[in-house]
């Protein structure tokens, strides 16, 4: 009985939604509003909403409905949400998840339904290589490339001995392998820690004992915050740290404060990158969100919406012609906040990577400062495995 009632209720809701839907474009957004990546999810949404606001809620001049729902960082729930978007809402584009595992979970259903998936963050190696798909666009980056850039930075800084540290899951190993791809020095130790670890004293003692020239760490979200706090408190300040941009972006800086000073990190974007579209984006973001500096996640999410906008404009709003939409997306013909870039055959970007360092800005606020370009027009290592 109860189930019948809920079914009627949902029926009523569905028809209510369908009444005012005079064929707008629909974009399904799966967000990490709660769960382990809640902070990044909030940044993603702020970036998306800024772009939506600047486009007056339209893509290519066509009224668009942006469906935003939380899936709590759980890949199974992401899967369920995507099925709802596909079967009930019949979306035309998809974006949103923060983590690679969620992206990998929802991919197959989207590809089967021929819905373009524009990643606003994760770039798993699977989608760059063997499982590459015409409907996937790694608008942001391929996971390994941040680490590759960090490896090159380590060479340039003349580090001969390093300790690497990452959580004990396959993605952690992938990130360290990415670092080792371009790093030429010796590796004193590779430490793998428990997922969700709180206390890093034992690992910090190991690092002290190993006396490396520098430390490279990949510890996303709360793990990175815990690690940096304890690393500096443990008196290892003199051993420099390098990290991919995720562990040293504005969200981490805001949570850790002073101990992040001098942290070198690599990313494909920086808020002080002198690109006109970026200057405009950063100013608008800071105006809308109380003077806060945007993170790379917000920048990527903004780019994703702009990429959709350009593609819809190019096909004159006929999003049902998927082949044309894909061809339009492939051109990357929009004002990206990272500057111009192009896609490789696996739909992952060929773009520059930069070195940033955490410093105080003119107002004494801690933030990243652009240092130099590390890799120019760099392409990921998996493109050769992609048959598309």
């Amino acid at each position: 009985m109860l189930k019948l009632k809920t079914a009627t209720l949902t029926l009523a809701l569905c028809s209510a939604l369908n009444v005012h839907a005079a064929d707008p474009i629909k974009v399904g957004v799966a967000l990490d509003i709660s769960g382990p990546f809640a902070t990044i999810g909030a940044e993603t949404r702020d970036g998306l909403n800024l772009a939506i606001e600047r486009l007056n809620g339209q893509l290519g001049g066509v009224p668009t409905e942006f469906l935003q729902t939380d899936f709590a960082g759980n890949p199974e729930q992401a899967n369920q949400l995507v099925n709802r978007y596909l079967q009930r809402d019949k979306i035309d584009f998809f974006t949103g998840p923060v983590a690679s595992n969620s992206a990998l979970a929802v991919g197959p259903a989207l590809f089967a339904a021929q819905v373009p998936f524009l990643s606003s963050n994760p770039g798993p190696s699977q989608y760059a290589g063997k499982q590459c798909n015409p409907y996937f666009f790694g608008v942001s980056y391929q996971n390994d490339t941040y680490d590759e850039a960090a490896g090159k930075v380590a060479n340039e800084k003349g580090y001969k001995n390093m300790v690497l540290i990452a959580p004990n899951y396959p993605a952690g190993k992938d990130h360290l392998n990415g670092f080792k791809r371009l790093y030429k020095g010796a590796i004193k130790d590779e430490i793998y820690t428990k997922v969700g670890q709180i206390d890093y004293a034992a690992e910090i003692a190991q690092i002290r004992a190993a006396k490396p020239d520098a430390v490279f760490f990949f510890l996303p979200a709360a793990m990175g915050i815990n690690f940096i706090k304890q690393y500096v408190g443990g008196g290892l300040k003199d051993i420099p740290m390098i990290a991919p941009g995720f562990s040293a972006d504005q969200d981490v800086i805001a949570a850790v404060g002073e101990p992040t000073m001098g942290l070198y990190n690599t990313a494909h974007w920086a808020h002080d990158l002198p690109v006109p579209a970026n200057v405009e984006f950063v100013a608008a973001f800071r105006k809308k969100y109380d003077g806060r500096y945007p993170t790379v996640y917000a920048a990527q999410a903004y780019d994703v919406i702009m990429a959709m906008d350009a593609a819809v404009r190019e096909v004159d709003g006929k999003v049902s012609d998927r082949a044309a939409v894909l061809a339009a997306l492939k051109k990357a013909n929009f004002k990206s906040v990272r500057g111009d870039f192009s896609y490789g055959p696996n739909h992952f970007p060929i773009q520059n990577y930069y070195l940033r360092v955490v410093e105080k800005d003119a107002n004494g606020q801690l933030t990243n400062k652009l240092v130099s370009t590390v890799l120019e027009k760099h392409q990921d290592a998996y493109v050769g495995e992609c048959q598309m």
Partner: protein
Amino acid sequence: MLIRIFPWTLLLVLALFPLVAPLFDFTYYVGFVRHLLIVMIAATSLNFILGYGGMAALGHAGFIGVGAYTVVALVDAGFTSAWGAWATALIVSAAFAAAIGAVSLRTQGVYFLMLTLAFSQMLYYLAVSLRTYGGDDGYGLHTPLTLGLGLGDAQGRILYWLVLAIAALLFAFLNRVAVSRFGYALRGVRENETRMAALGYPVYWIKFTAFTVAGAVAGLAGALLACHNRFVSPSLMHWTESATLLVIVVIGGLGRRWGAPLGAAVWLTLAEVLKLYTDYWRWPLGLLLILIVFFAPKGMAALLDNRGKSP
């Protein structure tokens, strides 16, 4: 009278649902109900040991994971038969449940709860670090398993009807067992272990058998879930998933026939609907839990069941 026709009517409605759904553009809800049915299988198995046997296990999601990863392992090795995979999942998770039960059942109450949690955490961390099956990234089952017998692949409506049939059979089976000699012995153990032992019942073996059966059924639910999602990741085994199952069983009604299905239907539907309207979808669920503990201590099934006694 109503009580007699209700299960058959429900079964009929659920069986017809996929045929009617496309007429109302409800295709998505076929998948939703399929997921719901699988959760109901797992919850019913937990209700069997918790409601009738008084064993508060906080590691039931571990067995779901074992079942799901058994399917992954078989698919990875090139095996494609759905029946074979499901049967293997049942056996493998029964073996895990037997091993874990043999150790955990030496303890009681909160110690039992924590020990089952500890074992499921071990399984979770094992799955996270297992590179072969994707670890934390999970494992995608890109081609569906095959059913043979002219039924095609284990997907879509066929999978729905199979899940429905399995759920109905298991539901009937576990409820039949609950009112058998074994079931009454199990309830006796829940009420007073010492007395049952004094009466000559093999208390440990009764609990062990029930625990193993429940673990096996949860494993089957996991195998079905793997086919439903076409994706398996360690998050299936996270301790919050075990806690959710516990919540479903308790709010539905401990040791009540319709407790687990009712709890699963209400909890999952509420979570689905609330998320449509707000980011703050957790606190209403939390409030619901507190209200149920206060005002419906025997669960929602007891509120509906005005006979006021457990079947």
